[in-house]
């Protein structure tokens, strides 16, 4: 379920000089650039100003861009090395892609851990959140050439995030703040926590890549960092059960 093994692999990637993460300094491959663009787009969609209604035109344009990228990724058979890369690099890219996916969107059994379960404005009990997400079924049934389970879920949750964002925009028309929270995937707010968690955590490799658009994230409360550690602990407990 929660792939702690994968998390460890992520850490290894940073140390690996050949890791594509280190490639943020060098020219990344097309698929990485595309992936970055996808990440950036999702961040933009989710970091809406909550006080004033978000610009619908901008949201629609970004959402369309996300769809385009996803469609192209599907056509390219992302992860199978269909893109012009050496076969040796393909598995690396897949891992990297997965890792980046993890960072931005929490899938139902997220290959991704910790930072997604930040508390943000949601003060509800964490175990509930975990349960709900584990039960979530990815909406898009697209055949996924990826080998790993988690990326597929994550991809499905991309679609879900997109749809939810529009639902959210729609729901804003007639529901209260509570409804807003209950309808949405908690990753809506977790993203802020993710990024700021990234900023404050001692994971230099991850930070560098995201710094560009992490800078756009509104600063949260200072309790974030300690909460993350707590959450991490809670998640581990849940995973054991």
């Amino acid at each position: 379920m929660f792939a702690r093994g994968l998390k460890r692999k992520c850490v290894d990637q940073e140390d690996d000089g050949e890791g594509a993460l280190a490639g943020f300094g060098t020219i990344p491959s097309y698929s990485l650039q595309r992936q970055s663009l996808l990440d950036m787009s999702l961040v933009k969609l989710q970091l809406c100003h909550m006080l004033v209604e978000p610009n619908l035109c901008r949201s629609v344009l970004i959402a369309n861009t996300v769809r385009q990228i996803q469609e192209e990724m599907t056509r390219d058979g992302v992860g199978q090395g269909a893109a012009p890369q050496s076969t040796g690099r393909a598995p690396l890219d897949r891992l990297v892609s997965t890792e980046i996916l993890c960072r931005t969107v929490r899938g139902p059994e997220a290959g991704c851990p910790v930072p997604d379960l930040g508390d943000g404005p949601l003060q509800g009990p964490l175990p509930e959140i975990c349960t709900v997400d584990a039960a979530e079924v990815p909406r898009s049934p697209q055949s996924n050439p990826w080998e790993m389970d988690s990326p597929r879920e994550s991809r499905g949750s991309f679609q879900k995030s997109l749809d939810q964002i529009f639902e959210t925009l729609e729901h804003k028309n007639h529901s209260s703040m509570e409804d807003l929270f209950s309808d949405m995937d908690s990753s809506y707010y977790d993203l802020d926590t993710v990024l700021t968690g990234m900023m404050t955590s001692a994971k230099p490799g991850l930070c560098d890549g995201l710094e560009g658009f992490a800078a756009a994230a509104p600063p949260p409360g200072s309790t974030c960092k300690s909460d993350l550690a707590e959450v991490d602990h809670v998640v581990e407990i849940l995973v054991e059960t």
Partner: protein
């Protein structure tokens, strides 16, 4: 494109006549001349409207150019809070549109995201004096002390310009209003938001007709929004609206009550060689304007201005590159959100020149007849009163000539989104963030 210094056409030798700074904190969000050009209205982010009036040129000083001075200032919209959605409604004025003058008073429509208001701006230069029941200071008199009656008389006073809200058109838009347009019948007008367009009668504020609705039943299927709309200048049944997918639809209100089916559909086929993930975003139309003649429409997307003939739907008749050097920077502009900036475009009075803004306080003019274009800058440092504006040039390649500015040095926070052109003369108003520049052609 854009050769510096080779022009002789008079409109390019622009001295700066007037320069006004609206309250420093406020960003100008709309600029509009009235139908005679005598008045110029600006709206700002703080919900204020400032109207400038052109000085009457006295017979003694024929050569003195009529300057624009502040005529009236009023608070049009206030910030509101939508309790149902727990969201703020900004007071920023999105658009101002003047009504043609029919009597001594001036009327204009101003709108924020949700509410349109009709304002009457009138002058008062006389004041009634000699009330029976009030004394000179306005205090009520005791009726028992009044022994004689008199008729109040009007006496001259210092000119006072007052603005009063005559109509408030509210609660008709779920989404953010981006355009308003007065119909040529002068009895109706339309307001357009992201998904719907409503038709109003000026006299009726409690109902409006929905004439366009592109909201899908399932919001998850939403892929396109309305970005701008305008009535035809002469045909009161015709209007156009543009979309975020780079299309323009022309509708005839006589065809049906709900104009969901367009009469004409304008779209340029995509250039496959230029295709990128940003293609759709940069094709999104930020402004659409009919020519004064009513024969053409002009559209502005992120990198170009296009002129379309109403009789040809499959492609524009003219395309002008505003700042094509940004094409290689689209990813950065996407990241910092500049790619979503909505630039407006305007025609001059004779429809021979079009103008639009850019970054770094640059604005561009294109002469449709000679095919010449120029880049000018609206900034205090580079303009002295009565001086001639110098054409600017952006260099793309490595070798930068003196006086040129490189793409990487452009200031993207200094954007000129709103400009206006006098209806009959070569006078332009350019809004550069919180400063308003009025430039006038010295040879008129």
């Amino acid at each position: 494109m854009g050769q510096a210094g080779a022009f002789t056409t008079s409109f390019l030798e622009f001295p700066r006549v007037s320069f006004y700074s609206v309250l420093p904190a406020d960003i100008i969000s709309t600029v509009e001349f009235n139908h005679t050009g005598e008045l110029l209205a600006t709206g700002d982010k703080g919900g204020r409207v400032v109207i400038f009036q052109r000085e009457q040129e006295s017979k003694n000083q024929v050569h003195r150019r009529g300057e624009y001075n502040v005529y009236s200032t009023f608070q049009s919209h206030e910030p509101e809070f939508d309790y149902l959605k727990s969201l703020e409604i900004e007071e920023k004025i999105n658009k101002i549109r003047w009504l043609p003058q029919q009597n001594a008073a001036y009327f204009l429509l101003s709108t924020n995201d949700k509410t349109v208001k009709l304002w009457k701006v009138s002058e008062r230069d006389k004041r009634p004096e000699g009330y029976n029941l009030k004394d000179e200071e306005g205090r009520l008199r005791d009726p028992a002390t009044i022994t004689t009656l008199r008729v109040p008389v009007l006496r001259p006073m210092d000119l006072m310009v007052e603005a009063t809200p005559r109509r408030v058109f509210a609660n008709a838009h779920t989404y953010h209003i981006n355009s308003i347009s007065v119909n040529s019948d002068y009895e109706t007008y339309m307001s357009a938001d992201d998904l719907r367009i409503n038709l109003w009668n000026f006299e009726i504020t409690n109902q409006s007709f929905n004439i366009v609705d592109i909201k899908p039943a399932n919001m998850e299927e939403l892929t396109e929004v309305i970005t701008a709309a305008e009535f035809h200048p002469h045909h009161c049944n015709t209007f156009v609206y543009s979309s975020s997918k780079g299309t323009i639809r022309l509708c005839d209100m006589r065809a049906s009550a709900l104009c969901d089916r367009h009469t004409k559909f304008f779209e340029e086929p995509e250039d496959p060689s230029n295709r990128s993930f940003f293609s759709e975003i940069i094709s999104s139309i930020s402004d659409v304007k009919f020519s004064h003649s009513g024969r053409y429409i002009m559209t502005r997307d992120y990198l170009t201005v296009k002129v379309w003939d109403l009789n040809m739907e499959n492609r524009p008749i003219e395309t002008y590159q505003v700042h094509d050097y940004l094409r290689s920077k689209l990813c950065s502009l996407y990241e910092n959100d500049c790619i979503f900036d909505k630039f407006e475009c305007v025609w001059n009075g004779s429809d021979s020149v079009i103008m639009t803004g850019s970054y770094n306080n640059f604005f561009r003019m294109f002469d449709r007849n000679t095919k010449r274009d120029v880049t000018l800058e609206a900034s205090r440092e580079n303009s002295k009163p009565r001086a001639i504006l110098k054409p600017r040039k952006v260099c793309v390649g490595g070798k930068r000539r003196k006086d040129e500015i490189s793409v990487d040095s452009l200031d993207f926070s200094k954007k000129i989104l709103h400009t206006a052109w006098h209806p009959s003369e070569n006078i332009i108003a350019v809004a550069a963030t919180n400063n308003l520049y009025i430039f006038q052609d010295k040879v008129n």
